[in-house]
Structures are given as C-alpha cells and as structure tokens.
C-alpha cells in the first residue's frame, strides 16, 4: 500500500498516466457521508462548511492551501509572490497567471474572464454573497489577457490571497452565471445546484439536504483522474451514525467531521473496517468572560453593555482564578482524545503566529483559592465565596452538544472546589449562534456571565480574527447586537496594535505583533480563556486511499487523487 501511494504521488507530480492502473474511472464508485447535508452547491450563497466542501468537488479556486497550510497552485500556474513579481512591491495588486489548457466540464475554455466574473458576482451589492469578506479591499479586477488576471486593492494588502484562493473562493463559469448577478442570484436554482466546474467531478443530480450524485468530469485536466467514475455524497443523520457507517458496517468510504467522544470513536474503529484520521487547524474551544453586567435587573438596552461593567468579572484576579482551576488535559481526554490538544492560546497555529504561552496547562486549585482570597472573596457559610454580601455565583451558557455539556459539568465542579457557584445553561445551536436581535439567548447578546463556544479563522493569517476584539466591534443595541467582540473587551493599546498589524507586511514582524495581541487577550487579561485546540476527526474505510485530511482548506481538496486500495 505504501509503495502504491508513493507511485500515485509520483504520477500526481509528473502528471504522467500509467496505463496499467491509472485510468479515469477505473476504481468504480465511492460513497461519502456528511452528517450535515449540503443545501446548495454554490458556496457564495451559503457560507456553511458543508456547502463549501461539497462544492469543492466541482468548482476550484486558483490556489489552495495544502495540509501544512502552504499555498499550492490549482488553476494558476504558480502562487504569485513579491519574490516572483506576482505581487506588486506596494502590495496594492496581485497578478495571477492561469494554467493553460484548462476547460470547464462542458468543454468550453476556462479564461481570465471567468475569474473577473466571479469577483463581480460576489461583490455585487444586492447579491448577498457569503464570501464577501474574501473580496474585501478589492478595487478592481482586470483581465490582462485570456490567461492573466490582475486584482487591484484600494490599500496596501499585506495578505493579498483573499480572492480566488482556498475553498471559499472558487471560480464559477461566467457563461452559466451571467444572468444570476445581484438579486437574481437567489433564483438561479439550476446553476446553484449544478454549477459547471473545472474540478474532478460534476453533479449528476443534486437533492438539497439529502444526497448528491456525481460522476467524473470528462474534461478534467489530468486524463488519469479522478480514479472514481461515480460518487454518492449522502447527507443527514448524526455523527454517530456516520462514524458507524464507515467504521463498523463499511457501507460508506468516508465520513466527515466525527464530533464524538474519543472512546466511542475508538470502539467503532476496533471493528477494523476503517480508520479515524485527525488533523489540527485553528479551531479553539474557549470560555469567554463577559466584561459587562448581564443582570436581568438592568433595563433592556443597558443590560450587557459597556455602561455597566461586570460586578465580579472586571477583577482580573477572579478571571485568572477561574482559568487556573481548570484542568485542560483532562478536558481533552474526556471530550476530544486524539482530536484535541490543551491550549492557552487564541491563535494556536500556524507556528509563525502562535504564542509560546503554556502557563495555564497545569491546574492549580490552591493558587486559584489564594488569588480569590487576595481579591477579597472569602468563603461563606455554604462554601460559596462572598464579598460585600455578594455571592460569587456565575451563569455559564453554551450550545447544546454532548461534549460541551460534559465540559460544563466538569468545570462547574472545579469552580465549586474554589468556592464559585455556577448555574449551567444550554441553548439550541440554531438559537445560540443565530443573530436574532429579538432573542435573549444569542451568544452575541451574552446575557450570561461566561459562555463557551469554538471559533477559528479562515486561511493562515489571523489579522481579521484578532481585529475582531477592538472596542468598536462590541455587540450592542446600536449595532442590532451584531459584532464579533463578544466579551466587549476594550483596550486602546490593543486597538493601536491591531492597526499596526494592518500596516506591517514583513512576516516575522507580523508574527510578533499577532503573538502580542494573542497574549493581551489571554494570559495578560484572561478575557478569553482558551481550553482546547480542537482538531478535525474524519474517518475513511480501509480501502480508500489517497486521503489527506486538510484543515486549512476543504477536506475534499484532493479528491481527484483518491483511489481504491485493492486487497
């Protein structure tokens, strides 16, 4: 098997087709299961991961990130950099050279016009494009010739790889979507369900939220690929069932994102039909501290706003004590196993941006108690700490999810050991993560003292991610409770440093600033208490080869290279 994959890798590099075993469609059929079903094949209309992943089988960007987070060219000949002259010295433009000879699955030629059209499609003011952030700062897209396209930015862009890079910004065919600009985008059902692409597969039938039938793209650029003639992409059910179908019954070949307790996965894998793979990205499960007072006694409109600082959590010693009481290693062991690593950082990767902060990894109950004593919180009659007649009692909310509820229970116990009383709440994910300003239970409104969820950033550059903790991004009534600075953290020095990051192009310097920003949010202020660096676990059957789990782009980024391992 090792030899075989080596050989396959070799052909992939040289583009040679060995007639003996590498022939398009030679390996028959492959079955994929996603327990969340894709609802559309156009990632520009739905930002959901499942849609982005399903679409990546069909439509491709100019370049992707590989398993290490490095950029690799797909439809482009090479990744433009300042070094090779693709990115201008002033960082205000990037020029992409398209690989010659690429055709769409309908046989027409792929040109720079399609690239320009894609930007127009997403940047249309009435289109409601979900990936608009990828095209932020783009002033214009110029077609130089059929195979060259230049993107001009309004300001210097230290990271010019937003447009046309990665699974979220693939190229769509201008001819197919010509009538789907702006408000019309919503009505182009056929194009949205069956986009013409350059990828290894094409859609035969799309059943929203159910199943997608695909077959090999007859015009794919590598005549030896894909090795599978047809593919069934089934959606729905739950993670347990998806894992079971691959690992235990062997009905399916690939199951996406198995968010299951580690012992459950281990027991399933014991059946010997498949293996669970894991890889790490930037997803961090964290506890967010509310810096404002969420008390229901405050009038609506003032509750949980900067007008009323939090009566308990504004004291950093309390926040630090809460963090010290947590045993992150145990959390990982219980909840994530091989798919988790304890972390103290908001930005856990890539290495250039990750701080070396590991101070929080050892649990220190006694230290936490001492810190609370120092802050003036003394143990009362019922074992709960008090200060000025006020109890050290917190509400702790999160979304409904078995692992999160286990975490809540564990953390509640540790906090009770240091004399903190905790009231737990769980909220249905569709309400919690929904931005409905009318609901009191959204994570943005944060009508609770602490809350737990996970977040990450796209691609490999954390600039916009770190920039979301500036003062002006706090959710508040004036912004309809929208905003990314969930804790209402506000530090002018932080805002200043974020601005500096935006001006810095040199990678080393950027890393330094990013680490500093990360530390300001975590170990210097304990506004955000990171818990677990969460990896991705997916399962493949023993007979499916060529799979490389990628957390920087879509998991199906190299589906063209997948093949059947013959016994």
């Amino acid at each position: 098997m090792t030899l075989k994959s080596l050989l396959l890798g070799a052909t992939a590099v040289t583009g040679l087709a060995s007639a003996a075993w590498a022939e398009r469609g030679a390996d028959g059929h492959v079955n994929l299961i996603y327990w969340q079903a894709p609802s559309i094949m156009n990632p520009y209309l739905s930002g959901g991961t499942k849609e982005v992943e399903a679409a990546s089988l069909v439509i491709e960007p100019l370049g992707r990130y590989n398993t290490k987070g490095e950029m690799v060219p797909y439809l482009a000949e090479e990744i433009p950099t300042v070094g090779n002259g693709g990115v201008s010295e002033d960082l205000k433009s990037i020029t992409w050279k398209i690989r010659p000879g690429i055709v769409w699955s309908d046989g027409t030629a792929f040109t720079a016009n399609d690239v320009k059209f894609t930007a127009e499609y997403c940047m249309h003011p009435e289109g409601g494009c979900a990936q608009l952030a990828k095209y932020e700062g783009v002033a214009s897209v110029e077609v130089i010739d059929d195979l060259t396209v230049k993107v001009n930015f309004t300001d210097a862009q230290p990271n010019p790889y937003g447009p046309f890079m990665g699974g979220q910004a693939p190229i769509i065919q201008a001819a197919q979507f010509a009538d789907c600009l702006g408000a019309k985008a919503q009505e182009c059902t056929d194009a949205n369900f069956n986009p013409i692409g350059t990828g290894p597969f094409k859609v035969d039938e799309f059943r929203p939220n159910d199943v997608i039938s695909l077959s090999a793209n007859p015009n794919y650029r590598d005549p030896a690929k894909p090795r599978f003639a047809t593919m069934t992409f089934k959606g729905g059910g739950d993670a347990t069932a998806a894992g079971r179908a691959v690992l235990e019954t062997g009905e399916f070949d690939y199951a996406w994102n198995l968010q299951l307790a580690p012992d459950v996965i281990a027991n399933m894998a014991a059946a010997g039909k498949g293996v669970a793979m894991s890889a790490f990205g930037t997803l961090v499960e964290r506890i967010e501290m509310n810096m404002t007072d969420p008390s229901p006694d405050l009038p609506e409109g003032e509750r949980a706003t900067a007008k009323h600082p939090h009566p308990i959590l504004t004291d950093m010693r309390v926040r630090k004590a809460l963090s010290m009481a947590i045993d992150r290693n145990l959390l990982v062991e219980i909840g994530y196993g091989q798919a988790g690593r304890p972390t103290c950082n908001l930005v856990p990767a890539p290495a250039a941006f990750a701080s070396d902060n590991t101070e929080c990894l050892t649990q220190d109950i006694e230290g936490a108690k001492a810190l609370l004593e120092e802050a003036g919180w003394t143990v009362g009659a019922d074992g709960i700490r008090e200060k000025d007649g006020k109890k050290l009692s917190l509400t702790y909310q999160t979304s409904t999810n078995a692992v999160r509820q286990d975490f809540q229970a564990l953390i509640k116990q540790w906090w009770s050991e240091i004399g903190v009383e905790t009231e737990l709440r769980n909220i249905s994910a569709s309400v919690f993560f929904g931005g409905d300003p009318g609901s009191p239970d959204t994570f943005q409104k944060f009508y609770s003292d602490v809350e737990m969820y996970a977040n990450n950033f796209d691609g490999t550059d954390p600039q916009s991610y770190l920039a979301s903790y500036t003062c002006n991004k706090a959710p508040r009534p004036e912004t309809q409770w929208q905003g990314e600075n969930i804790n209402r953290f506000c530090d002018p020095a932080y805002d200043e440093l974020v601005k500096e990051l935006g001006r810095t192009a040199e990678l080393e310097k950027r890393g330094e600033i990013a680490k500093k920003l990360n530390d300001m949010l975590t170990k210097d202020s304990y506004t955000i208490v990171p818990l677990v660096d969460r990896g991705r676990v997916s399962a493949r059957s023993n007979t499916l080869g060529g799979v490389e789990l990628n957390t920087w782009d879509t998991e199906l980024w190299n589906a063209a290279d997948w093949y059947r391992i013959k016994e």
Binding site: I334, L410, N426, S428
Partner: protein, 312 residues
Amino acid sequence: MTDAPDPKPIAALADKGPTAPPRSQWRDVWDQFKTHRGALAGGIVLLFIIVTVFVGPYLWPYDATFIDIRARNQGPSLTHPFGTDQLGRDMLARMMAGGQTSIAVGLTAMLLALGLGSLIGVLAGFFRRLDGPLMRLTDLFLSLPLLPLLLVMVLLFRETLSGILGPETGIFILIVVAIGVTSWMPTARIVRGDVLALKEREFILAARSIGTTNYNLITRHILPNVMSPIMVSATLGIANAIITESALSFLGLGFPPDFPTWGRLLNDATQYLQDYPERVFWPGLAISLTVLSINYMGDGLRDALDPRIRGR
C-alpha cells in the same frame, strides 16, 4: 282447600332491615379496584418507584451531580450498583434524581393535558354551539409547529416566570405548561367523538327527561362513560411527557444540562449503547415500568367504574 296453611311471609320481608351500612359508589369502586390484580400490582410498583426516587437520595451517599473522574465508565459494582457514567457520576443517584423530575413532570403534564383535553372535548361534544369554535381551536393547535411554538413560549415567559417563582419552580411550571398545552388536542378530539355518540343514547334522554341539569348530566352520565379512552390517553400521555421533557432540555428550554432526568439519561446513554448497554437499560426500564404500572392502574380503574363488571 279450606284449611290451607297460613301463608308464610316471604323470608326476605321478614328481615329487619339492611344489615350492612349503606355503601357509597366510590367505596364500591375501591372494593372492585382492590380485587384487580393488575391494578394492585401496578399501584405497588408505582408506589415503590415513587418512594425510592423521593426518599432514596437521602439514604444514598452519592450526589447525582458529583463527578469522580477516576471512576468513570464503571460497570455495576457494590459501590455503584448501576455503574457510573462517562464523567464518573453514580448512575443510581442520577436515576433517583432523574426520577423525581421525570415523574413529577410526567404526571403533572399528563394531568394538565388530560384535564384540558377532556374539558374541551366534553364541552365541544355536548354543547353544539361550542363545537365549531372549540374544534377549530383544536385544529389550530394541531397545526402549529411544535418547536417554534416552544421556543416562543420560552422566549416570552422564561425570565418572567423565573423572576416570580424562582428559577427551579419557574422552569418546572414552564415545562409542564409547554407539554400540557401542546398535547391536549388528541384527547379532546377523542373525547368529543365519544360524547357526540353518547349524548344520543337512551339513558341520556332518560336522564334529561327527569330534569337532570347539564352539569349533572356531564359529571354523572357522560364522564364515567368516556373514562376508558381518557385512561388510555393518560397512559400514553405520561410516556410522551417524560420523553418530551428530555427533548425540551435539549433545545435549552428545560432544566440545566447537569440536571438528570430519565429521558435525558436515556438519550445520553444511546451513544454508548454498544459499549455500556446497562446505561441505557436502567432509564429505559424505569420509564417502561412507570408507564406500565399506570396503564394497569388505568385498566383497574376503568373496570371498577363499570357497574356491569363490578361485582363479578
């Protein structure tokens, strides 16, 4: 012919009077109920469950929410007769604590749904004028999508109720009302159907012709005769309420996540079905036993209320 013997008085007439004290109808019902073996067994089992669940926690050393992480995923043993869960919490303690909530919620929500359903069903079936509006109301409630309805109820009432009654009672009332308000409709339709047929029967006409008031007609003649479908609704309703409660907690409408209930225990354990089957077994058994015992008691009550069967 002439010297015929004196006619002897009929023996019965010679009796001085009734020897036994007068018996009320309810006493007869109780006597009959007692002889129903199923009902008696059901009653004993239910009583046993209730006593265990409400008294047990005072005797058992472990707390339902106490985490002993070293002892997680243990099978049944002397210290933990039902084993422990994935965080090392004692399952017996969790079963008892869960039972308190599940039985309380199940019984009250079922009674609420049953009361509401029977009231609306009887009124609609008995009074023609009310039939239209009440049945359209039933149609409306049947049509409303359950999940959004529950979410709205919580949105509107959770904070208010918690404010007035305290968090625990507030949530309890909210859950009971949410389940009750969303599950009375089948009972109402069934009772109404039966009442429509009953009120055309001869004994109702007879009762009406001797001037029985509507109130008495309903309570004395109609209600006892629709008792059996109500009893069936009751048994099915309690199972439903216990399961629905766990669904509510999942939506974040119910009790805090570390608060065990039978439905939630069953749901949590399903994930571990293959590895730790006993963890599913206990809550499943508890729910089934409760429902079964109430079912048998319902059977007994139904038989006891039927004067034709009584005394046989």
